[in-house]
Symmetry: C2
């Protein structure tokens, strides 16, 4: 288990389990948000989907992980970092992290998703 993941467990005072460190390790190494299927493929530990979703829910409530919906009725997950936007291409379904500067918005923004057609598909 990497130092970064260990620090997360320490900080939030939750039990260290194989399932949890495995999920976080995959998310740490990802360069883009991933859905359940994609995370499952990359994980070395086998686990039930119920376990996966319950842990993801816990991570989310602790602010460790951030989730959003794409246009395929699937949820995508990533480790929480600074607020940034995601561009989802409706043609190739690739997800790209982008920086956006926007005017003032009422309320706390936790996630920004743009959909459309990417440069390559245009």
């Amino acid at each position: 288990m990497s130092e970064q993941i260990k620090a997360i467990f320490d900080k939030h005072d939750i039990k260290i389990t194989n399932a949890r460190s495995s999920i976080l390790e995959v998310l740490k190494n990802a360069h883009t948000p991933l859905n359940y299927e994609q995370i499952k493929e990359k994980m070395e530990t086998m686990m039930d989907k119920a376990t996966f979703y319950r842990n993801i829910a816990k991570f989310e409530s602790l602010g460790i992980v951030h989730k959003f919906e794409s246009d395929d009725r699937k949820w995508y997950f990533e480790l929480s970092t600074s607020i940034h936007a995601h561009f989802i291409c409706e043609e190739c379904h690739q997800i790209k992290c982008i920086d956006v500067s926007m005017g003032e918005v009422e309320g706390d923004v936790k996630s920004i998703v743009l959909k459309g057609t990417c440069k390559a598909c245009k």
Copy 2:
């Protein structure tokens, strides 16, 4: 059937049916994007959900209607207008249309969804 709806049928040269005009009429009168259940409640014409979703898909492909996913695994629909963003409150689940000005983005943007906590819930 209102003039506005009639104009849509004329423009796109598609068959006028009760189901179609009923769906469009509801969307025309809505001040906010609606999901299937909400549209169903407001419609006077009864129709099967298969009919609803097939027509919505047709409207979408013609650019008449715009769709996006909220955080409840449901799709929300509205008549296509100028590009604007939607703010979805994760507490009260209300959807608010907002204007955002953002820097240049690669590709064509068709939808923008922000999620977070709205002013009232904060």
